[in-house]
């Protein structure tokens, strides 16, 4: 399976949880920590992310950057 990961911009995440419901792998959760605005920002909870970008597409604050293993490296 293709492996991916995400980086959430902690400062602008508003904890709306839309990414959590959009994730088909259920690999997102709210952090127990707060950001400076007082929101529990989203974070990865396990390593099952496939880099499908669903979370980033529904994020209203464009806070998510998605990385994915490149296919070329997989082949070699």
């Amino acid at each position: 399976m293709i492996h991916g990961t995400i980086v959430v911009a902690k400062d602008i995440c508003k904890a709306c949880e839309l990414c959590i419901t959009a994730c088909p792998q259920e690999c997102l959760e709210l952090s127990p920590h707060l950001n400076e605005k007082g929101y529990r920002y989203a974070q990865l909870k396990n390593d099952t992310c496939t880099g499908c970008i669903n979370c980033a597409i529904v994020c209203p604050d464009s806070a998510i950057t998605v990385y994915r293993e490149s296919k070329k490296k997989n082949a070699s």
């Binding site: 492996h3 970008i53 597409i57 209203p60 950057t65 990385y67």
Partner: protein
């Protein structure tokens, strides 16, 4: 842990569009405005028309849209975004012009401007964000509020006998000869967002060909105004808004 690939070895597959500024958005958590802004800017990035696009910001929650979109923007008086867009497009006929309005702006105070702009068939894209409530002023009843919907000005639910039925402005303007492409989309799921992106792309294409007015209604949410969490709001939207405002193309060119 040999299989774990570090981030440095991966490629970026999705990031914030470069036409969206770094200003943190003032919208409430889960608001559909943010998604629409992002998708609109993504399309502009992909078409490479950042320097040729002029947006008209409304009065309403999206009043600061010009802070978030790194393109030329003009603020309009309440409800008059389509009228301002008409002027901009007529003076600069080679530019891409869009107006961005909410339901209180486009369907209430600006109904006259909206209908006449479409009737003249101005070559602009009109984006209409419909969440059935006045979000900015604190959740008052809008012309698009559903029957029985509780708002601060209809605490017992909207009564059709007293204040009328929800206005389906998109169906209304689809009857006019100037309307070329009229569609209704949503932003509650990934699939819906992808469809919206396609609709915006198509509209910019028609605008270049000077075909007539393109009108996209986006059925959106208002978690704060509806007094729900964003996730609950999207479920409520699907259950209650879509029967009244069904998604899909209302008028598409043959």
């Amino acid at each position: 842990m040999e299989n774990v690939v570090t981030k440095n070895e991966m490629e970026i597959v999705y990031k914030k569009p470069k036409t969206i500024t770094d200003t943190p958005m003032h919208y409430c958590p889960g608001c559909g405005h943010g998604v629409v802004h992002k998708i609109l800017m993504e399309v502009i990035d992909e078409l490479g028309i950042q320097d040729q696009t002029i947006g008209i910001a409304p009065v309403g929650c999206a009043v600061f849209a010009y802070d978030y979109m790194n393109i030329d923007m003009q603020e309009a008086a309440h409800g008059r975004a389509s009228a301002v867009a008409t002027g901009v497009r007529r003076v600069l006929p080679d530019k891409y012009v869009f107006s961005y309005q909410g339901d209180g702006d486009l369907a209430a105070i600006g109904t006259g401007e909206t209908i006449h702009t479409v009737n003249r068939g101005e070559n602009i894209l009109m984006l209409f964000i419909n969440n059935g409530i006045y979000g900015m002023t604190g959740g008052q009843m809008a012309p698009t509020s559903l029957i029985g919907m509780k708002t601060t000005t209809s605490p017992y639910g909207r009564d059709a006998a007293q204040v009328g039925n929800p206005i389906k402005i998109t169906e209304l303007i689809a009857q006019l000869p100037g309307a070329y492409y009229v569609t209704r989309q949503a932003v509650h799921t990934t699939q819906a967002v992808r469809k919206l992106k396609k609709a915006i792309e198509t509209s910019f294409k028609y605008q270049k060909e000077k075909k007539g007015t393109c009108f996209i209604e986006v059925v959106s949410n208002c978690p704060s105004g509806w007094k729900m969490t964003p996730v609950e709001a999207n479920v409520w939207l699907e259950k209650n808004m879509f029967p009244v405002y069904p998604l899909g193309d209302i008028k598409s060119p043959k």
